[in-house]
């Protein structure tokens, strides 16, 4: 039987075709969302107009009128709300970045500790993870703040540890008085970075050529510090510091880390470290057992095998959930409002109460956190791509 003659292909449009259905669904979905958004916006506008509530972001340029307890740079009550928000953002970032660094260190140690030879270490790591994972973070923050304010001595009877003072008022430490020499030192450190990079590439080349390993971490670090030191000496070696001393009611002078900051940092770090430990453990377990056995067959010690063979391969599995944990830490820092640390949510709260612009302030908070999440995710995606195993 001969096949039927091939007819010219015609696209027949049908109202019942899948393409049309898809189009219709999408139009309906977008339309529905659009109507819903319009309805809600219309309501909001009507309500605000009826009650005489003013809206708009112009309040950001108005005078703040409130002081902020701690900030990285000087903030006066005469500055604008926008400045206050910036102070809040820097406070949040301060806690978030420090927290991320500390939690990575602690979490990795705990995760590796789950594979230790020593049963006590294994057991303690397990107990730590179980306890800190199963208690809500707000409760942990409140408990740490309570411990910081109840157990530490009064400011008048502060514990003195060398130049440091520890009390209910926080940790007071001497800060260097800013002089041009410090700027020189900073430039020196910056100049040291390309020199260190040159050393590393030189050491790598020598290793590839001769097989003799050179120091890849300590030597470049020493180079950077040496450059900074030389620049500092050239700048006149300024060494004046602002030392704290016991004042009439409190410790005066010097820099201070308030108990709110300390409690927030400790609480967030310990909580997130438990999750990071589990992530690291999962990552190491995903590396085939044969790798560890081969490493020990080659005579590598347990720590060398972990550091050089297992962890680098585990990184591929660790990084996406680790990114999640970093984002969680940043978002959990918003709980600072419950213990009195002036982060961006706390400052937005004050702004809402003073200006009544609830919608705008909450929108600003969400924008700040979304931006931070996006940047962190981008950074970690880049690192993820870089550490991916080069497969055939």
């Amino acid at each position: 039987m001969t096949p039927p003659p091939a007819s010219a292909k015609t696209t027949r449009w049908s109202w019942r075709s899948q393409a049309f259905r898809a189009l219709a669904y999408q139009v309906l979905a977008v339309g529905f969302i659009g109507i819903l958004v319009w309805y809600l916006a219309h309501n909001t506008a009507t309500n605000m107009r009826q009650r005489g509530i003013q809206s708009g972001f112009d309040f950001l340029l108005g005078t703040a009128g409130f002081d902020i307890g701690e900030s990285l740079f000087a903030f006066d009550s005469g500055e604008s709300y926008l400045q206050a928000y910036l102070v809040g953002v820097t406070n949040t970032l301060r806690v978030a970045l420090l927290g991320i660094f500390l939690t990575t260190v602690l979490g990795t140690l705990l995760g590796i500790g789950r594979f230790s030879r020593n049963a006590l270490v294994r057991g303690l790591c397990r107990v730590y993870v179980e306890i800190f994972r199963n208690i809500p973070v707000l409760l942990q923050l409140l408990m740490w703040y309570l411990l910081c304010t109840e157990l530490l001595p009064d400011m008048a009877n502060a514990w003195e540890l060398g130049p440091l003072f520890l009390s209910k008022g926080g940790l007071n430490f001497p800060i260097p008085v800013w002089a041009p020499g410090h700027a020189m030192a900073a430039w020196g450190l910056l100049l040291g970075l390309p020199l260190a990079w040159l050393w590393r590439s030189h050491a790598k080349n020598r290793f590839n050529a001769t097989g003799v390993p050179r120091s890849m971490v300590w030597a470049p670090l020493a180079v950077v510090l040496a450059c900074g030191l030389i620049a500092w000496l050239l700048g006149g070696a300024p060494s004046e510091t602002n030392r704290p001393f016991r004042g009439e009611f409190a410790i005066e002078n010097g820099g201070a880390l308030t108990p709110e900051f300390l409690a927030l940092l400790i609480g967030l770090t310990l909580y997130t470290a438990a999750f990071v430990a589990e992530v690291v453990r999962g990552g190491i377990q995903s590396v085939p057992q044969g790798q560890a056995e081969a490493a020990s067959a080659l005579g590598l010690s347990q720590s060398h095998s972990m550091r050089l063979v297992q962890l680098p391969q585990a990184l591929r599995v660790i990084i996406p959930p680790l990114t999640n944990q970093y984002l969680n830490l940043t978002k959990n820092s918003s709980l600072a409002v419950a213990i009195g640390y002036p982060d961006v949510v706390s400052i937005a709260n004050t702004a809402i109460n003073q200006t009544g612009r609830a919608v705008e302030c909450i929108a600003l908070i969400m924008v700040v956190y979304l931006t931070t999440s996006l940047l962190t995710a981008l950074l970690m995606n880049w690192y993820n791509a870089r550490s991916a195993i080069q497969e055939r």
Binding site: N47, I53, D67, G69, A250, I352
Partner: protein, 344 residues
Amino acid sequence: MSFQKLKSVAFATAVFGAVAAFPAHAGKTLDAIKARGQVICGVHTGLAGFSAADSNGKWAGIDVDMCRAVAASTLGDAEKVKYVPLTAQARFTALQSGEIDMLSRNTTFTLTRDASLGLSQTAVVYYDGQGFMVPVKSKIKSAKQLKGQTVCVQSGTTTEKNLTDFSKANNLNIKPVVFEKLDAVEGAYFSGRCLSYTTDASGLASVRNKSAKNPADHLILPELISKEPLGPLVRRGDDEWAAIVKWTIFGLLEAEENGITQANVDDLKANSKDPVVGRILGSTEDTGKLLGLDKEWMANAIKATGNYGEIFERNVGPKSSLQLPRGLNNLWSKGGIQYAPPIR
């Protein structure tokens, strides 16, 4: 996709659109209250002397008594009130959104609140000022000695702003420690985190009395760094309801001026020959009609709560646990500044 589904979706969209086009009706608060049979009053979560609930859930305080007086004058029964405890953050949005009818929560009257929040201030119930409390062992006797010190303050109140103004004006560089919740502020002060605690002077007395282990260990400094006229707020745009709340409070002051008390109000209503008293109590003239209320609106209120002086004495006066003096809150004829316009 079947046309049935299309039709139902189109119908739903049309309904939604129609509902959206419905004009949001301007709420007549008094009609709503009469229909509901209850006044919804926003109060403090727990400030002794102003609005606090005991362990049985019974509310008491000056602000609570104002709510009860308004309920009595509007509905005839002081118990027809629902109390909604609100934090400092939520209080204005609760009033703006219609969740409560009046906010009786020792709120200061300020320009910002009158002009930009869509709210309207009624009558001042308590003239107060902001003060500081320090532990006696710190040996501080004046607020000017607080140079560079830490002061605990609650966020979202005029207190924060006043503290900043005071610090700036006197070059004190005060470091505020700001908390969201009142009990966090109290906890931080009493555990020694900050040297001083600042809020309205009446609030200081209340907190010292209720939360300090030994009230004698704490000293309220003499300086009052701001004016804090406290009173109820209502929504803007409903002048009728604002008038009712305002004149109920004025009526309580007028009652004290004219010697009408909770004990003698029935007697005076029946037997008084004084035309002023008669006008207030509704025995000679019906002023309630002008407000949209019952003839005996003020008599009901006074019977339920007593006059202003009795309310003050019972809740915060020298015989109560707060022991605050009448001071500025006395009648104008007795040296204070409470001056109510006449009911006529």
